[in-house]
Symmetry: C2
Subunit: 388 residues, 2 copies
């Protein structure tokens, strides 16, 4: 009786919303945050949530240990926004360009925020030390270490490079520690491999910290973080904090990795049926890639979820129905290849919700969350920011 379920509006509060729009399930969000917090408490490390997924102050307040942090950000725009919202302890976790130092300094001064930066080369360290001396502001710096060849960072065995960066920073800046991100864990799905990736991230972090300490350099912070490794780490000895972010919200990609269950995903896109191509078995909606994002992360996983799993307006997946393709403002729903279910009858005007491939990418297509709690939207809107 899919049709009735999908059409039943009840008093869920969704009828007044313009589609497409983002729906955030506050109950699931809270459960995800509580789960990660319990897990990290048990492992004896602090949570420094990455706010790049949610980009929203109300979500940040739910995820942080205290109203002033700690937190991680991916842009200086986020740093400004959260600093203005009272967050004081932040790491801007993208390698610094020298041109951005004045803006970092301005955020630190204006908001008395302890905003730390990240780098992985001696050239950057020298520029930061010079800026610090000139500004009279010893910028706190974490050296980015490469956990798995994914992206940036110093090789954790390259003692010479680590010491050279540390020595350069000592000329005016503040060396605060090391930072790693095991991004290659996103490509895994086997628990054994995920535990190994987590241990590789941990041991690389500890090795780099030891090199600095053995050279007489400070390394109070040993920061790691990715949602999959945070979920699968067996122990985190030697680590002081974890910077996971997408875990709060979850998405189909993380479900494919094994970092969350589909029914834990807190984010959906509300959409309306606008047409049918009956002969092809297509249902057309007003949520295209502009609303869902172009992210097709699950295309490389064991189960390709298209542009997302289609749910009824209560958020319950409709059997075997996915967003098969997307144009800018059109979603094309169809059954999965080999599906046993029949195509549901979803008349023009039916409201549906789409579980996204990637919460960070889908969220970024929108400027607000329509909050649902206990299955109802009572008009509460949480802002979110974009841009740099």
């Amino acid at each position: 009786m899919v049709d009735e379920r999908a059409q039943a509006s009840g008093d869920d509060g969704l009828d007044g919303l313009e589609t497409p729009c983002l729906i955030l399930d506050a109950d699931r969000l809270k459960a995800n945050v509580d789960g990660m917090r319990r897990r990290l408490d048990k492992l004896g490390v602090a949570l420094r949530p990455h706010l790049k997924t949610a980009k929203s102050l109300p979500v940040a307040r739910m995820a942080m240990s205290r109203p002033d942090g700690p937190a991680t950000v991916s842009t200086l725009r986020e740093a400004e926004y959260f600093a203005e919202g009272g967050v004081r302890d932040m790491i801007y976790a993208v390698g610094i360009a020298p041109q951005k130092l004045d803006r970092v300094g301005a955020i630190r001064r204006r908001c008395t925020a302890d905003l730390a930066i990240v780098l992985d080369s001696r050239a950057q360290a020298e520029a930061v030390a010079l800026w610090s001396r000139r500004a009279g502001d010893a910028l706190p710096v974490l050296i980015e270490v490469d956990a798995d060849g994914h992206r940036s960072g110093v090789d954790p065995r390259d003692a010479e490079q680590l010491r050279a960066i540390g020595d350069a920073l000592a000329e005016g800046a503040e060396l605060r520690g090391v930072l790693l991100h095991a991004g290659d864990s996103y490509g895994l799905s086997d628990p054994v491999a995920l535990r190994a990736a987590a241990e590789a991230e941990r041991s690389a972090a500890v090795a780099a910290a030891s090199i600095l300490r053995d050279a007489g350099l400070p390394c109070p912070t040993v920061s790691i973080g990715s949602t999959p490794t945070a979920r699968y780490a067996a122990h985190l000895e030697g680590i002081t904090e974890v910077r996971a972010g997408v875990f709060m919200i979850g998405d189909l990609f993380q479900a494919g990795v094994g970092s969350c269950a589909v029914e834990e995903i807190a984010l959906t896109v509300l959409t309306t049926v606008i047409g049918h191509q009956h002969q092809k078995g297509w249902i057309i909606t007003d949520a295209g890639w502009m609303a869902l994002s172009r992210d097709r992360g699950t295309a490389r996983q064991a189960i390709d979820q298209g542009y997302g799993i289609v749910c009824d307006r209560a958020g319950r997946p409709l059997e075997d129905l996915i967003v098969r393709d997307a144009n800018q403002e059109h979603g094309i729903l169809a059954l999965r290849a080999g599906a046993s279910a029949a195509l549901p009858d979803l008349p023009i005007g039916t409201r549906l919700r789409i579980l996204p491939n990637h919460a960070c990418a889908t969220g970024a297509q929108h400027d607000r969350y329509h909050v649902v709690a206990e299955g109802r939207h009572k008009g509460e809107i949480w802002p979110r920011i974009n841009g740099w």
Copy 2:
């Protein structure tokens, strides 16, 4: 001497910009608009530019024949924004949901805008006619016709369905014509096939219009539109207007189709080098997929451009250098597979510009254009909107 070129700042006005950000080359934009206008003038049809790519009033004013239109939009947010900016003649070219009719009516009233809508089913036509009677506002409607099985629309040979929709609209609404979009042309690259796709779009439009007229129904507007078919149509007899949009700006995907040349693309993302992984031949920048979008349209074309072609700050492509991969706020530059060029030396802080896969998707990640004219940015910023 790539390095010197890339580092030379001269007086291009780009040093003061925060990266990543969008750069719009106004000279290329104007040339693209002029070229399409000349072409359509020769074919004897009007241009109703689609504003979904640019989403910017200054760009719209350059692309439209008159300050009040005509124009095409893909969201009601665009309709509101452009109506408030003086555009009066618009088609909202996405199949209408009945829930959106009040908002359509409000835009028409508040801005005295001639905003037309689109549908492809009798159920929608009946809802629109009922709304029109109740509101005392005969909504102008175009029937969407399916040119090529790409997405939405009535089969152009289905006379019964076309007449049924026309008859239903006659009960209060205004049937204004037919509308087609040959979206499958995006998958082509052979000029012969593109000319055939353009002719198929044209002949389907004319066939559907004839069915309506033969039934005594009005069909003043016969509207087609896609950038590839607009570029390749041999003649457009029976067509009244073309709704192309991305042609104004161009992108690597359209270059792959053959709808524009790489050196005609008016949009780039300005970025800064933030790191190197020398052993891997990677250069890391601050333009990740958040700035470039997740669109990888060229992955399915003959030449895969990664997340974009890397140019120096003047917009000249650096030989064989592409954005090989992207994380949220990190771009990973590397030479193409099999490249003969050497990796250029691009120190930390070097400014580069990235030509995007898809102008519509990349634009949507930003809220403004930094305008360059005659090779210089003099502080001019053009706004752009997003959302629904």
